[in-house]
Subunit: 380 residues, 2 copies
Amino acid sequence: MPFRFEILKTDPTTKARAGLLHTPHGVIETPVFMPVGTLGSVKGMTQDALEELGAQIILGNTYHLYLRPGHELIRDLGGLHKFISWPRAILTDSGGFQVFSLSKLRKIEEQGVTFRSHLDGSAHFFSPESTVDIQNALGSDIQMQLDECTPYPVSHEAARKSMELSVRWAARAKNAWLTTPDNPSTLFPIVQGSMFADLRQESAERLVELDLPGYAIGGLSVGEPRPLTFDMVAATEPHLPPEKPRYVMGVGMPEEIPEYVAQGVDMMDCVLPTRNARNGMLFTSAGRMHIGNARYARDQKPPDEKCACSVCRRYTRAYLRHLFHSGEMLAGVLNTIHNLFFYLDGMRRMRGAILAGEFSRYRNEISHRDTENTEENKNT
Amino acid sequence: MPFRFEILKTDPTTKARAGLLHTPHGVIETPVFMPVGTLGSVKGMTQDALEELGAQIILGNTYHLYLRPGHELIRDLGGLHKFISWPRAILTDSGGFQVFSLSKLRKIEEQGVTFRSHLDGSAHFFSPESTVDIQNALGSDIQMQLDECTPYPVSHEAARKSMELSVRWAARAKNAWLTTPDNPSTLFPIVQGSMFADLRQESAERLVELDLPGYAIGGLSVGEPRPLTFDMVAATEPHLPPEKPRYVMGVGMPEEIPEYVAQGVDMMDCVLPTRNARNGMLFTSAGRMHIGNARYARDQKPPDEKCACSVCRRYTRAYLRHLFHSGEMLAGVLNTIHNLFFYLDGMRRMRGAILAGEFSRYRNEISHRDTENTEENKNT
């Protein structure tokens, strides 16, 4: 199997670790943040620009690609890597999250979920088996099981019922995945259990019995207070095999990333750097800034004075503010380049700190950054 | 004066010439096509990408930049080159065309034009003197006089009246321009006269008396049949000084460019490559193609099989079709890169042909290209 996870160093005082994730499309340095490429494009970014940023793996959304342009078309054209001209690794989700957040009239049964497309209202059905088939067609390096995304808040009883369905679906996904001999695509099951530590533990233990190559923690960042998110990761982690990669789905803010890593998390993804960029929000070493703010109209400093990205090396806040204010496409493009650099560069620094045995110092620095409303206080 | 035009070679059988236009921000190889950067950004293009394409000069629109972010802000921040981080040359129009095409309730008088902003309805006034002041504030390398854009069609009498106003405004613009000693920005007047050869001749002759460093031909591509456009350029050219650059404003389609050059035109600009890109229309060596067409859904060829641009080297028609169909930002970005490369590369080839004494052969090749509806006939 080309898929292999190698831990190079574990932090002596936390659970942070630095590793290498070997995939059919290259080696990924972990901990890793994965930019989201919903429809086969990280919005506003060329693949050249993504490579320059050092992205080693991006996400694709099975729900979106299944609807448009269709997984069969992508398979016929040689798979997602070839279709989008991305030679590095790709992780695909199972589509479950989008079925529960985007589509209408969904109906969950033991067999799977019936839903209507958010595009044209047409009826579709996803099962644990069919989403493996779709992801096999896409040819992603890492695929996810179909799971039920438990809403929040929810009762313990409802959370148990939902978690147990996801565990049964994981077993079925594994069987479907095994029907392709030497499947180059690796399958991760997803730990659920809402905000109940006992359910998280039970979900993890039952999924570990399936002995799959990696484990995701899902159902977080769904509206709960952030300390609870960290608690749930902490409640899950001891029950996952230490030698396998752990992926927390859909997180997080830059200052939260080291907290997940401190809990032994190796992989994360989030739309924050890309979506917020399009809305004019920049992540910087001095905190978040909304570039549309009038205070930047004559500000000739780079967006982040400590940043070495191609945007901060060339453009001023005044220009970015003008682009955003004028609705120019370039606003989204440049803001996205900066935000993704900020995330990916942060990951590289953090990984270096783990390897150098200095993770705790790094984490402490990040946690003492002012992150909120700094434009009100400092950037004047 | 840093502004200087140098003719390197004149075609023996047409009026085409290859030259060098020396400006305070670099030397421009002519004939040149200038990408349009309305609001200080060529839509969807980073400045890095524009440099990679070999763009030596871009346009800025005085009307738009005056309204947003304002010429005084740009002057205070060091001028347009610094504001947008573009070290190469910039040409600005006078805003006249936008006043006549975008704004409401405009009122033309001898003194100038009163108009309302298309953004917020606020009242503004442009005079030949104020638009020189604004363009001085922007610091463009080449600025244009304020002219009245004569509507089409129009009577001979109305065209004469309008042309004469533009000529008087040119003289006032020159006087305003001369009040800045050693003004690094060069002023071009604009020949008008609608579709009347006698008025074009009279306009040219009266403007030549002003002895300015270059001459524009305006009021074309306003809805008239294309042969008439060429006739008007042909009617104007003999009355312009051969040693000075000639700029035909707002043209043209790729197959028309050599026709203007054959008439002795050195400079052109047009929104076609950029605007059409955003609408999914690609210019290729095999003609125009609408990338959204269903026939491209599974087409793994590059957009243009003879093109060496970064898009054609990396992506397929199927992927570009998917991006366009899905409304992804990357569709506009990639289509724009391709179309601008197609224009700029075409200019480089044409200039090489002039220098090699092979312009007529080049022109003949371009004119025999199928340009219309090729996707219906050939790209299958």
